[in-house]
């Protein structure tokens, strides 16, 4: 854990953070002589107004605990969690209930009431808040429209698809007009196509309602598609933090790289992915991932390196993507795997201000 933490994102300073974690620790108590378990340590994190911040981590990394601190479902052992200027950690149970009404939350398994229709599920938080029936109707129907489920208002959850259930979940989370939306693995139970639709909906409500979104996920693809900022959590600590673009282009921490490798190796052609080894063998080729960011996206980098070093470079896979609205290219190439050639290639690439990473050897 000696990798330097990235400094707080520059825009965090300009806009007042809507969610602020201030040196938060969370330890689960020692019962009957068992050693206490530290779920989170030294978490300081700011989510600026209107941002979508994604927290990514493996299961058990502490991300579920982290998101539950925001609405007080979990209490920190020390430190403060401030939401919209209110110190959540200082509130008693009754005041906390009031604060929770301005914090919406959506869940991996949707958590819809099976015996309520889509309409009645969306109405539930309003009933709880004591909103009169007439006003509930005026609030719920536009929300069902917003999430594209106006025609399903009288359907029960069992009659809806996973994506439709999550749309109901989103409408329900928005019913009390919160300023903050918490998303707890909201797309993890959905197929890739439905995931895209739900993420698009999250972007839409973020933009239209000026909602600040904190989401947790274990999938880098979710971060790539929806978050403008990312924090990587590992072993209860935030090990990397920055804009999504920055972190994708220049990952610093090994955990971040592993997540990014998942994203890349998942798309490597099987004939490469299946044969990939971590150690070189005589005569094997190195598989190198080169990341092209904005300024260099159009440079003829490969031919330049190839000519300069008289090395054959074989393109295995290439894709140009867009992250947070900026072009972002990834090329996976193979080059001769001997140490001298490999280091010449990587340093030539580094001189062009591009980052590269050796994925393995074939």
């Amino acid at each position: 854990m000696n990798t330097p933490l990235s400094p707080a994102a520059p825009d965090a300073a300009s806009a007042a953070p809507v969610i602020l974690f201030d040196k938060v620790e969370k330890t689960y108590g020692a019962r009957r002589g068992a050693t206490p378990v530290t779920a989170l340590s030294d978490i300081s994190l700011a989510v600026p107004e209107g941002a979508i911040l994604g927290v990514i981590g493996r299961s058990g990394a502490g991300k579920s605990t982290l998101i539950r601190l925001v609405n007080g479902l979990e209490k920190p052992t020390s430190g403060r969690v401030v939401v919209d200027g209110v110190d959540i950690t200082a509130l008693d149970e009754k005041a906390l209930r009031g604060a929770r009404r301005s914090i919406g939350m959506i869940f991996q398994h949707f958590n819809l009431l099976a015996r309520r229709t889509a309409y009645d599920n969306v109405a539930l938080p309003l009933e709880i808040a004591g909103v009169p029936a007439r006003e509930i109707k005026a609030r719920v129907e536009p929300l069902l429209d917003l999430v594209g489920l106006a025609d399903k208002r009288d359907r029960y959850p069992a009659e809806l698809s996973g994506g439709q259930k999550q749309r109901v979940g989103i409408a329900r989370a928005l019913a009390t007009r919160p300023r903050v939306l918490l998303s707890d693995e909201a797309t993890s139970a959905l197929d890739p196509e439905t995931t895209q639709q739900i993420l698009a909906l999250l972007r839409k409500v973020n933009a239209e309602l000026k909602l600040t979104v904190l989401l947790i996920t274990h999938e880098m693809a979710v971060i790539k598609n929806v978050a403008d900022q990312v924090a990587v959590i590992d072993g209860g600590r935030i090990v990397e933090r920055g804009t999504t673009y920055e972190v994708f282009a220049h990952p610093r921490h090994s955990t971040t790289r592993t997540f990014l490798a998942d994203l890349t190796s998942a798309s490597l052609p099987p004939y490469v992915a299946d044969r990939l080894k971590s150690e070189p063998e005589p005569g094997s080729e190195a598989v190198v991932r080169i990341v092209f960011t904005g300024d260099h996206a159009t440079d003829p980098v490969l031919s330049r390196v190839s000519r300069l070093l008289s090395v054959d470079i074989n393109i295995i896979q290439a894709q140009v993507d867009e992250i947070a609205g900026a072009p972002f290219g990834v090329i996976v190439v193979s080059v001769p795997g001997d140490a001298a050639t490999l280091s010449a290639v990587t340093s030539a690439v580094a001189r062009l201000n591009l980052s590269s990473e050796v994925l393995g050897y074939v």
Partner: protein, 228 residues
């Protein structure tokens, strides 16, 4: 159907059978109702009061759990006799149909409480968390989430309780409670009238079938977890 089978019995016995059926229905309905009024809140509390739960009171939970277990492990016929002073206190007498309602209720309430506890515990904890995240109070969570979501299961639990009470009610003949069981013992067994015994058994079977079908039907209508 009734005319066909009962015409085999003397009219006086048919009258007794009808009277006994009414007594059984009265005892079961009254003890079922009062037992539910006591058992439902008790069951909800048992399901929500362990440590870390909505109404966390682990100590009270343990004590109530012990009381419920004690009541449930006492054989019913012994319970009937053992609580006679209590029965007299409540009903003014220890003999008769009204008096029989007391031990039936005392047996039904803890049984219903345990069944309701089970029904409530079946409700997905994710729903409780979602309701807490909405800012619901513990009472709102019970009223808006736990009870409505558990309702199909609670209906089946109460059906089971009523069916059990039909069985228990046969035993309160021992304290002059009347009802079908009493008729079966006094006429069918002690006076060697197997046709009366058969009629009692048939009426009990019909009652149990009727109650079970009704309960299943209501539970099915309440349950929205199936598609379309």
């Amino acid at each position: 159907m009734f005319d066909l089978s009962f015409s085999l019995l003397p009219p006086a016995i048919v009258d007794l059978l009808i009277e006994a059926t009414k007594q059984t229905l009265y005892m079961v309905a009254a003890s079922g109702l009062i037992g539910t009024l006591i058992g439902l809140p008790l069951g909800v509390f048992l399901a929500t009061s362990r440590s870390g739960e909505l109404f966390a009171a682990p100590w009270l939970n343990s004590v109530l759990g012990l009381v419920v277990n004690a009541a449930r492990s006492t054989p019913f016929i012994i319970l009937v006799v053992a609580i006679i002073p209590f029965t007299r206190l409540i009903a003014g007498t220890s003999i008769g149909t009204n008096a029989a309602i007391v031990p039936l209720t005392v047996a039904a309430a803890p049984f219903i409480a345990r069944l309701i506890e089970g029904s409530i515990r079946e409700v997905d904890q994710g729903l409780v968390e979602a309701a807490r995240a909405m800012g619901a109070s513990p009472l709102q969570i019970v009223r808006k989430v736990l009870l409505p979501e558990a309702m199909p299961s609670i209906t089946l639990a109460l059906t089971l309780a009523v069916v059990s009470l039909l069985g228990y009610s046969a035993m309160v003949g021992a304290v002059g409670g009347g009802g079908l069981g009493d008729l079966g013992i006094r006429f069918g067994y002690q006076r060697f009238m197997p046709d009366v015994m058969a009629a009692v058994v048939i009426v009990l079977i019909l009652l149990v079938q009727g109650v079970q079908s009704l309960g299943d039907g209501i539970a099915r209508r309440l349950d929205k977890r199936h598609r379309g």
